[in-house]
Symmetry: C2
Subunit: 153 residues, 2 copies
DNA sequence: ACCAAAAAGGATAATTTTATCTTAAATAGA
DNA sequence: TCTATTTAAGATAAAATTATCCTTTTTGGT
């Protein structure tokens, strides 16, 4: 669907975004721990996100990652685009080299609907919206702890 | 989204299904060539499909792969299930270990819609339906040849 | 019984994705 | 200016997926 790297990237971005009010910077270790992702891999992904201006980084002591107000308005698809690119949203569901109305695969009509729903999901949602949900406590960015799992789910 | 193996598998199945009227058996080479897939890899996939009774195989001279009438009625999702399993349709879009209404990730509501659209596409479509389209000439199972590409698309 | 043709099965290789480790660059503060 | 801290960058490793090759089994025809 979308790569693991991209999923880590969205989780990390949303977590960083959820701290905007606090005006603090977060370092790789804190982010990786919170979003349940491998630390070194997360560092690579944060690097990409910074290059694409999804989040902002500052080196040195008291440095770290944070997000600017204007970056909250960006749609989640910008993250997907930065890490995976836009190919998934154009690709043929049966793997033909190119998806085309003129030379459609047998699943074209059905697949297109699902693919567009996915595009929609990422396009219509902003990083800020997701961050709010996280702050609200209405959604989560990490796995349930095993302990509470039995009780909660 | 779904694996390459699975896409080859669907293409191969639909091609085999489209020949049901002819009452012939197709061998790996013919199938792989038609669906633009690597031959040895296709052989592996056809093996799996046969084991799951998606298609039927017969060894020996005059052997090959074919499909039975009852197999035409099967939904395409049976192919996905045979090769990739059903996990994609249950997985969290942001990679949490489990997708849950009680512990949803921030994209849960939006992602669920796309995921269900995909499930729908595979569930509501039968192999026979896709095969008919192919026979009709209204859809295609292989890539456009480069020559005709310029003219057609 | 034997041979040839075809799929099945097992081993291996190549590629891509995921993950880690090490060193370099930047920067705040003493 | 020196040091500690933190990201950036580059090299490497591990795992998963995709792909190939070789041997075995099955089977129809002679
Ligand atoms: S051609 Fe296959 S999805 Fe469009
Ligand atoms: S929890 Fe993420 S999609 Fe359901």
């Amino acid at each position: 669907m979308i790569s693991k790297a991209c999923k880590y990237g969205i989780r990390a971005t949303v977590f960083v975004a959820s701290k905007i009010e606090l005006g603090i910077k977060l370092n790789v270790k804190e982010i990786a721990k919170e979003v349940d992702a491998p630390e070194a891999f997360t560092a690579k992904i944060l690097q990409i996100l910074n290059k694409h201006r999804i989040i902002t980084s500052l080196k040195g002591p008291y440095g770290g990652f944070f997000i600017d107000q204007f970056q909250l308005e960006q749609p989640v698809i910008n993250i997907v685009n930065a890490i995976d690119g836009m190919a998934v949203f154009r690709e043929c569901g049966l793997g033909l080299e190119q998806c085309s109305e003129k030379h459609p695969c047998p699943m074209h009509n059905q697949y297109k609907i699902a693919r567009e729903a996915l595009l929609d999901a990422f396009q219509k949602t902003t990083i800020g919206q997701l961050a709010s949900q996280l702050s609200d406590g209405t959604s989560f960015i990490n796995n349930m702890e095993l302990s509470s799992a039995a009780a909660t789910d």
